[in-house]
């Protein structure tokens, strides 16, 4: 009965230890996965500017290009976001204003820094959504997906313009092309200039596919925004250097810009998981120490109860090592029995315990701030790189963390017990059992047999 009790207590301690070990491994793996998926880019935008919305003063291209002189910065991609109202272009927006457009009064924007967008005018029945233009020297998937919060756009026809192009050319989204019956070689007017369509892209999003990409200098010239940029993506040579580069950029640009890095945002969002990792580590240590103390006290109790047996064994000529070995064998047997039960229970409870720890640490609530940074200063809505600051608007479910463009949910943690974890845990338990029983047996083998046998 006593043996069953000792094994049961050990099983509980081992179950707790193994569940914490599994939880810790799962959280660590998640953290590592998230960190590995974090880009080494930093997004720079005018203070208060967000996508095509907000205020602020455009940044100067020369200043942004100067960021290349900051250590570890390998590339800077600038863009200028503009809106073409119906008076400035022959293009017809493919997006109907609808209730939301009418409510927000889109349509009176006249360019970066001077938008009177949200709530700037009363609702109008003649209102129409403007066509959005991105001036960039890096047309293609990287620019659209990276700097502007888009998804994985692909050219479906034609070709991209040269990065050094200053021509009046554009690649247009497939939805916009369809609405305006544009093909490669077609032309449209923007700011009174004749623009030739070089290519058509598709991103799988109506919002993104309603946009126009043009050479940066062309947009600057036509929009009368010479030298202006509204967004820049700074690439750093290594994830390890993102923090220092971020700091240097903030110092360089001061209060003129919002500087956001995916890494900083990721670390902030990983804080709950780090808390879980810390909790599980301390609980693991505590349960291991607890198991060791239980084992030591149990073995002390057992060897004290068997003093007479030890005395008899010594009288029969048993060497001390033989007596200690016997007690080690017994405690290792207890531990293995406890481990078998504890492993099964621990594996079964590890998943709910991990979920409970993550929930308790606040991992499912505070997503504010993270999303904006991860998505970058992009289009402002709809692209796959954007999730609204509050979970209620997310089209990928509420109450969970999302990584813009990474398709990664922080709280979706998969727990699994690998053989290496179980073998490590079993070996650790056996070593602790052996040490505990050695200490306990060593206290008893020093007795002189005559003392024990005399007092019987």
């Amino acid at each position: 009965m006593r043996t069953v009790g000792v094994v049961a207590i050990l099983a509980v301690a081992i179950a707790l230890s193994i569940s914490m070990l599994i939880a810790r491994d799962a959280v660590t793996n998640k953290i590592n996965t998230v960190r590995a998926s974090t880009g080494n880019t930093i997004t720079v935008s005018p203070k208060g500017f967000f996508g095509f919305s907000g205020g602020g003063t455009p940044l100067k291209e020369s200043v942004v290009t100067g960021l290349l002189s900051i250590p570890h910065v390998t590339a800077v991609q600038e863009s200028l976001n503009e809106e073409l109202t119906s008076t400035k272009t022959s293009l017809k927006s493919p997006t109907p204003a609808g209730f939301l457009g009418g409510q927000f009064g889109f349509g009176s924007s006249s360019g970066a820094g001077s938008s009177s967008g949200f709530g700037g005018s009363s609702s109008s029945t003649t209102f129409s959504i403007p066509v959005r233009v991105i001036g960039t020297n890096s047309p293609g998937n990287a620019v659209v997906g990276g700097a502007n919060g888009g998804g994985s756009e692909k050219l479906t026809s034609g070709a991209a313009y040269s990065p050094t192009s200053t021509a009046d050319v554009a690649i247009v989204g497939s939805t916009l092309a369809s609405t305006n019956k544009l093909k490669v070689g077609s032309t449209f007017t923007a700011w009174s200039a004749k623009i030739t369509v070089m290519g058509i892209f598709n991103a799988g999003s109506t919002f993104t596919d309603s946009n126009v990409l043009m050479p940066l200098s062309t947009v600057q010239k036509l929009a009368n925004a010479s030298g202006d940029v509204t967004s820049a993506t700074v690439t750093v040579n290594s994830l390890n250097n993102v923090a220092s580069a971020d700091k240097a950029i903030v110092k360089r640009l001061g209060s003129a810009a919002d500087v956001t890095s995916t890494q900083a945002t990721t670390e902030a969002s990983l804080a709950p998981l780090n808390s879980v990792k810390t909790i599980s580590t301390y609980t693991l240590i505590g349960s291991v120490i607890g198991a060791a103390i239980i084992l030591l006290l149990s073995m002390l109790m057992i060897v004290r109860e068997r003093r007479r047996e030890v005395g008899v064994l010594k009288a029969l000529g048993a060497p001390n090592r033989s007596i200690i070995s016997q007690f080690i064998a017994e405690s290792v047997t207890f531990t293995i029995l406890g481990a078998i039960v504890g492993f099964v229970v621990g594996i079964l409870i590890s998943s709910p315990i991990t979920s409970a720890l993550v929930s308790a640490s606040g991992g499912s609530s505070s997503s504010s701030g993270f999303v904006r940074r991860a998505g970058g200063a992009g289009f402002g809505a709809g692209g796959s790189g954007f999730t609204p600051p509050t979970g209620g608007f997310s089209n990928r479910g509420t109450g969970t963390f999302h990584f813009g463009g990474f398709s990664n949910t922080i709280t979706q943690i998969h727990t699994s017990a690998g053989w290496s974890t179980l073998v490590f845990a079993l070996l650790a338990a056996i070593v602790i059992a052996a040490l505990g029983s050695t200490v306990a047996a060593a206290t008893i083998v020093r007795i002189r047999p005559a003392e024990v046998l005399r007092s019987e």
């Binding site: 047996e309 064994l313 029969l316 060497p319 033989s322 002189r448 005399r454 019987e456």
Partner: protein
């Protein structure tokens, strides 16, 4: 041949010094059954502990077949207990989770007998002490007191020691069984050519011995 000279043992207690064994000297030959009579607290069990190296004397020497026990180190004392001396206790002191045969084999294991010979030797001893196969497989709790003491005697003789120390071997048995146990001790002492020292306070048991000693306040005297 056991030769004891000037053996002294004093216990220092809170109530003062207790001279448990005082200047004890005697000799005993192999195959001899020696009885030591004494009242409770007279020092007879202490004398056995000293002879079995379960305790260390303050003074004096013990010699078995030319080996001075005082010169033995820790490993030597352990080896002496496993090979040259056997104990029979009043409370039997068998290992409870081993059966009768395993208890005997345990003594052989400590004496480093070859593994292949242990079973044969254990069966031989079980036959000598009159326990059949069905009893050999039983744990101590399933044996009577007399049967347990027979197992204890078999265990004591297992490694063919020169000296058997029996401390009140009949103390927990009825008279008839006690008589049989003493006869068994005498028989085995003769066949195994071992010196058997039996500590008892029973005159009838003592009368079956070849020689008798009386111990009182630690002082040993032979009864002629």
């Amino acid at each position: 041949m056991l030769k004891v000279e000037n053996l002294d043992k004093t216990f220092h207690t809170g109530a003062g010094d207790v001279h448990a064994v005082q200047n004890v000297s005697f000799e005993a030959k192999g195959g001899e059954l020696v009885a030591i009579l004494g009242a409770s607290g007279s020092g007879k069990s202490t004398l056995l502990s000293l002879l079995g190296l379960l305790d260390a004397p303050d003074r004096g020497s013990i010699d078995i077949d030319g080996t001075q026990l005082a010169n033995l180190d820790s490993a030597g004392r352990t080896q002496y207990r496993s090979r040259q001396v056997g104990f029979v206790f009043q409370q039997f002191n068998l290992i409870p989770n081993l059966n009768a045969r395993e208890n005997i084999k345990l003594a052989l294991e400590f004496a480093h007998w070859p593994k292949a010979d242990r079973n044969r030797r254990a069966n031989e001893l079980l036959e000598i002490v009159g326990l059949d196969e069905s009893k050999a497989e039983r744990r101590p709790a399933k044996l009577s007191g007399g049967e347990q003491q027979r197992v204890a005697i078999a265990r004591a003789f297992a490694a063919q020691p020169q000296l058997i120390l029996a401390d009140e071997p009949t103390g927990s048995l009825d008279k008839a069984t006690g008589q049989k146990i003493v006869e068994l001790l005498r028989e085995v002492a003769t066949t195994q050519k071992a010196t058997v020292l039996v500590v008892t306070h029973d005159e009838k048991i003592a009368k079956k011995a070849d020689r008798r000693f009386e111990i009182e306040d630690g002082v040993l005297k032979e009864i002629r």
